[in-house]
Symmetry: C4
Subunit: 228 residues, 4 copies
């Protein structure tokens, strides 16, 4: 497998080979991932249900489904910010081999199920009994797995530096990797919080998403680099 050609992208979205032919770079993987994330984030709206009311006001049943709105906002921000961070990573990755494509596919496989777990939370968050806790724990566990997926997506090129862009400081990035990967631990903690108070856990998910929106991932770049 060591001589397997990579999808070279060192000169950007298109790299003209000696034969004058354009080979796809990571632009293609990013475009497909963008498409999948755009569809997944938009399907979240299918969870917002129009209540059917024959008599009386539609207002109370609309308000009653506040867990649906809260779950929609949380998951929309989560997927949106995963999109941001997916791209931050791919700015650092210049070439993709089939293993990287497969790791990326597994990460997408997890992200695409977010509308399902969101729906579960919307349905059960305010149910009496244990089901709200189960729903929220599944939601948090999924976030934990997606965090591991991101760690794999960055860990793999870090250990295969020929896939990295020229400006990446590999040594610094490897030193920063544990701090990068530790992000998943937060979601592990949210699994525990889900069993204590699922509504609080959902609110904490929003906070974590917003935090990651503004906090640059520690990925290790040369000072003055133009990769960000």
């Amino acid at each position: 497998m060591t001589t397997e050609p990579t999808w070279s992208g060192s000169a950007g979205p298109t790299a003209v080979s000696p034969a004058g032919r354009v080979a796809p770079g990571t632009a293609r993987v990013e475009a497909f991932s963008d498409g999948v994330l755009a569809v997944a984030i938009t399907l979240l709206v299918l969870d917002l249900k129009v209540p059917h009311v024959e008599h009386g006001s539609v207002w109370p049943p609309l308000l009653d489904q506040w867990p649906g709105y809260a779950a929609y906002v949380t998951s929309f921000l989560s997927i949106g910010i995963m999109w941001m961070n997916h791209h931050s990573l791919f700015v650092m990755i210049a070439r993709a081999d089939r293993k990287l494509l497969f790791v990326n596919l597994l990460l997408l496989l997890l992200i695409v199920t977010v509308p399902f777990s969101t729906s579960l939370v919307a349905e059960y968050l305010t149910h009496p009994g244990f089901n709200g806790k189960i729903a929220m724990a599944i939601y948090s566990g999924q976030s934990f797995l997606m965090g591991l997926g991101f760690a794999a997506l960055w860990g793999y090129p870090l250990t295969h530096p020929r896939l990295l862009a020229d400006g990446v400081d590999v040594a610094a990035a490897r030193r920063a990797f544990p701090r990068f990967a530790i992000g998943s631990a937060v979601y592990g903690a949210l699994v525990a919080v889900s069993f204590l108070n699922p509504a609080v856990a959902l609110a904490l998910h929003v906070s974590v998403a917003v935090y990651y929106a503004f906090e640059r991932l520690p990925v290790g770049q040369r000072a003055g680099g133009h990769l960000g």
Copy 2:
């Protein structure tokens, strides 16, 4: 946060850094936004329901759901024209930082719920009683919020001119901003109209969408500029 690198896009979709690496410009944000808008606008069709008729003609129930068709057309034009204006703005924006990406994400979060509010209008527009007014007021209120979202999306780079394209006349754009932002006030007025006559409010939404399709947004450009 002041030294945070931006996603430079000054030379267009791809900008080769000194290190020879291509950094994503706003092309990426636009592509993701395009994807989300394309899915949201197409999901509107799920609101058109095939009536189930065992005996008798399917024609009357098809005609009975005219509020669904009216809401479909209104929302399709609204999202389509928001797409046009989203791009008119991004022609002026050359670089994106994480705050701009976040403002854009909040705007998308609102737009993606348009199929839900459209569904609400389709279901309740012709209901006797107050529910049609509630549905239409929610629809108008959402348009008002999206107007504010667009104002934020343009106001932020105006106050952070390093994000703007070279040809933008910042002083003129700032003078034009109130006129740009005032557009939302129309939707505020439509909230009131919704309580008076929801069908009229829906028709006015179509008019406003078509108006914005042909009226260039006042964004402030140099005379003879090639940005439009």
Copy 3:
């Protein structure tokens, strides 16, 4: 409106303005249209329903919904070939103004409802009585309107030649226009056939779609041109 700047695309997807800024060409409209068509064509699968069988074989109910499969294949080919022809046209169109964008939006508005009319045909094609004829006539009437939409999409730049690409022979294209526009008449005839025999009308739709897949649209190009 005569001095309204166009979205210049004369040099392709990106055209660097004097100020060094990249302005979107028709690439952007095409990308958004591609996205909408890709979603609409894929949503057709939601019409294929899994039958729920408690006892006995699932095979008979699967076979019973053959109108659904036939409608799926017909509509998939129709949208796919409209995509081909949409692009054939946009190769000839180098610049887009807001009126062209609006005509394109109206065409998309029609195309996105194809999953709805397909669903109608799948439900009623084999119903006894008149409903199959109504469903198929609506389907054919929609195709007729889409044909008019394509005529408008090509007629508008033909009468505004500054929007056309350099290699287009405007005089020849105008002479060829009636032959281009006459295509819609076929669908008008299929409305009549729908009332005679809806299943035959559906089969004819497949034939017409396949015909348009291989027959180049008469759009008028210079001999030896590289626009096709």
Copy 4:
């Protein structure tokens, strides 16, 4: 049809014609195919149903629908890896004519129905009696047809070498074609396995998908080529 112009893409996504106009290359077909595959792969999540539980734990019904999760994972990997291989092929294809576009459209027509057959498997895999076998045989038969579709998509340009990229060793690719096409036979065998043990057949589908993720398709390239 022999003089029909192709969509030239020899210089990559955009090829400037003598008239200075950019003609679409295969980039356009790939972008549309990417969009369709991205939507189809994401619609798979609609098969994961939230169980409705009034009393008792939601956990048992969640576990009971394990065939749904298994089918989701299988189909997600299958479509994802078809996406990989679609692109591997299109790196070799520099130009598209209308016949190639039509073959590609037929392949997409099959792929888009994967969410339907996945749903069928999710519903019936564990049903007592024959229905699980029927569902799984349909799923395998569909994979067989998609394999034939890929063979056609590669066989057509191999017999029309002017569509191929410059670096492709046509003679070697033709020699490798039988080995490329034989892949479908595996799916033919899985139809038989489906009738013996549908759960085993589903597991074998995962294995085959993962195998194709890492095994480069035998497509015939010059040694040292940069096409992969």
